[in-house]
Symmetry: C3
């Protein structure tokens, strides 16, 4: 056994070449999750309890630079059954093992060119690593509306506008059917753009919990737009493929995101609005008859507030509402209220998180109560 200067939370292996020809940060991570659900008719009783033990996420991560510090790379692999699910004829009937495989080239001043598969510059919740969340998992707004990861190219840039004001922008060109697709581009291309303003200076706006206990208020406001031309899936880059007898039903799907994060003296506020629309959300076949598939159009809103105590306990409250267009999707309004508690032993690297949620379904569906408890270790 050898001694390393590296410490917990900085990767399992963390080296840089003496000749500056490469660096490597290799990390592993896994989450153990316990979930329990009950129906709650009339909010008066808990019935039909179910439970689930899960290795929710498990990952191997490689990142660093290669050849030159201006050329960074990242490869992230999903290991858990939830991480790698989604095999289909579009993915060569193979599990979707690769999350990220991307190189990022700082080719000129503030410009970075990204090539490969990674997260698109969509909504903030999605961009925040699942390992850096203040809650047990992302909100329903993210599940329903996010634009996930895709293979393609991205251009990232930032402006320093002076007076501590920073503007960051990114645009992406990708296929539009989601990650790990091997069967080529269906329909048209997918354009995504995001701009984000930091009016009071830069800060870590892609990680939950104000560990820095910012002395002055920090704010980030972002807007993102995804135009998925001739999209063929019901949730733009996810959901069912809208197949017809002769191919695919295609329609332009647009998703708009507006989000913000604020951190100040242990308080973190985060809010996110998402809206999906489609030119013709109801898929039809060659004869103009509905195929049964419909684009999940509608909007959603999530807001959460948290306070990090000195002892690294954090409480968080979250309100989420999803309003799909009921005439089209047949799905009524869903509201979710969540109260969470986290204990950060080593920030996000070793933590225990728990939350209790009430799902309030319109249309007289039974409401639902969900309890979750999670342990996360991240080297």
């Amino acid at each position: 056994q050898e001694i390393t200067e590296n410490t917990f939370g900085k990767g399992l292996v963390n080296v840089v070449a003496k000749d500056s020809s490469y660096s490597l940060n290799f990390a592993a991570r896994f989450q153990s999750l316990f979930t329990s659900n009950w129906d709650s008719p009339d909010n008066s009783a808990l019935e039909n309890g179910t439970s689930n033990f899960l290795v929710r996420r498990a990952r191997l991560k490689f990142k660093g630079f290669a050849y030159s510090p201006k050329l960074r790379y990242k490869m992230e692999l999903g290991l858990s059954n939830r991480d790698i699910s989604g095999a289909s004829e579009y993915t060569h009937d193979a599990p979707r093992y690769i999350l990220d495989a991307v190189i990022k080239w700082n080719f000129y001043e503030n410009f970075d060119l990204w090539v490969g598969q990674t997260k698109l510059p969509g909504n903030r919740e999605r961009i925040i690593s699942s390992g850096n969340m203040q809650t047990v998992d992302r909100s329903l707004v993210n599940s329903v509306f996010n634009v996930d990861r895709e293979m393609g190219v991205q251009l990232h840039h930032y402006f320093d506008l002076g007076n501590n004001v920073i503007l960051k922008e990114a645009v992406a060109l990708s296929q539009g059917e989601g990650r790990n697709v091997t069967r080529g581009n269906k329909g048209g291309y997918h354009f995504t753009g995001r701009a984000e303003l930091f009016p009071f200076g830069d800060f870590d706006a892609y990680s939950g919990a104000d560990f820095a206990r910012e002395e002055t208020p920090k704010l980030a406001i972002g807007a993102a737009y995804s135009h998925n031309g001739n999209a063929v899936r019901t949730e733009s880059v996810d959901g069912d493929y809208m197949e017809t007898e002769t191919g695919f039903y295609e329609t332009d799907i647009k998703t708009f995101f507006l989000d913000a994060m604020m951190k100040y003296r242990g308080v973190t506020l985060m809010a996110e609005y998402a809206d999906r629309s489609a030119d013709n959300p109801i898929a039809v076949d060659e004869n103009g008859l509905p195929t049964g598939d419909v684009v999940q159009v509608g909007d959603g809103f999530n807001a959460q507030a948290a306070y990090l105590f000195k002892n690294n306990f954090e409480v968080v409250g979250r309100y989420t509402t999803i309003k799909l267009d009921e005439d089209i999707t047949g799905v009524g309004v869903e509201n979710q209220y969540t109260l969470g508690l986290s204990k950060y032993l080593v920030k996000h690297k070793l933590k225990v998180q728990t939350d209790l949620s009430l799902n309030d379904y319109a249309d007289n569906l039974d409401n639902e109560v969900m309890y979750r408890l999670q342990v996360d270790i991240h080297f």
Copy 2:
């Protein structure tokens, strides 16, 4: 290329942080197996020979401690097709890549809390790593009766009873449907408990071959009990799901194990008895009619004896018998006689193993002869 102080068999990477914030032992391993089978009607001839080349097992293993030496972790990944098989709707149609993902917290004196997925405290043969066996593979008793790995929580403890007498106990709470299940708990919970007595002092009772050539006889006697409440699979945590038109047939399945290991001057003796019973082993549908599924109730016994020569050759003889309840399962008695030979180049880390087995089936089925040859390398 750099020089490492580490040596073969102690992991590919084996480091501890200078600040004692973590350690890592990263290892890889693979087994190449050749198998040949023949039918042997009337034990008089060999017919219908078949053969199989296989990468039988291939693994990546990460273990060590994190944050504090009191918090240990282990993640083990299966890579071979045999390791990762078993994709089904219950595993998100994804391969079962993760074997272990567990943290072990020594929260108080002799008490350890385990959270995540790992082997349950069931029979000894199963707990012995497949890399530390004296035989090419585990016995039929293990294949038919073991309770494998599951996600959940375990509590481990040991008593030092004085006079070199040690008692180790463990209890586990899990889902009851086996490893990597993502679709939640079906039926009830699974409780497993194991107690083990070391009357003549502690020793390595979970590894085959007496490399230590114990000067005094060492003995471990264990008993384990698994109560899988409202179980839904025919082999408790494995086998077919007993589906009905409206859900699952559920019945309590209990498995009892009694096992022992003895090591002395190069001799290793190991024996194991297993018994599975079920409240109502014959699955029936809503109308009380048999669905065709039956719980594999019955018992089995395995005994093996080995001697390790000074030149690190080892001979092993094994006798196994499986007696499922023929009235219920329709399967007759199976006896297996095995003679094996191992050459340990670097203990279990680099070895060649071979064995010859005769499978003697009751009910006039043709007997079977099996020859196997295996090379195992384990960093």
Copy 3:
């Protein structure tokens, strides 16, 4: 973060034990590929354009020696969806994650015994690592005729014939159904042999591009022969299984390869001829009626020439022709003309490659134009 003496392109981790008990070279690699295709009726227009972004290959590689420098090992894992595709009942319905898992024992002088799964000693293009190619991908000759990887044993040897003349030979015994098969050997065994002459001294004949800028002409001429006894798949070790009502149609399939590589002052020439024949290529059932499966018999030829400029740009031209027996397979002649350009930033370890191909199909099928652009990073 620690400092390592290792450099980019020599592995992410590259160590040797002080006691010479093992060494490890651990590397990762991924390729991002953009492909675009058009039909070109009458070679006069480009129509029906399609495109595809792909993580084409992504790999983890472990190699080195263990126990003694005479015992080398290699384990290579495929990660991309294209790498791991091919799950079937013959592979335990599991993805084919393992590419190589092999140990190589230099047991006597120039003799090496290989045990496990790795590439068979077939055609040169296949043996050249996909990471060391001068072109975006291998030729059609390789795709149609190669004998891929299998589990089994190989014996490798070389003669030093004096005067700088070297002869290398290898023979292999394997199952004949391709890699990662778990369901045992179908039909008979597969014998492969290869001999290769280096008349002007040894050189790197298994890597594209003459980075060494050989001062004197270097040449390697190889011939390989594969005899797949009672083979059951239409492309010998690949393609459809030729199933019948009661089992498999079996026929001996033979593949012959002749190949050469020459390097001199930046010029690389490579050529390859392949021919597949079968005793009875048309699969028939128990009653002698055709099942619809046919062995893909025929031959193919590939030739390519490249020049590496001083600035590490390389141009390559390639001509490929595939002539399957049209009477049997129903497939007409296909010619492919490719022009490629590579920029090697760090030899094959970091490179950008692009090519343009014209596929000329006989039988009046529309010709096809294909454009590809690839970035490859290999630690």
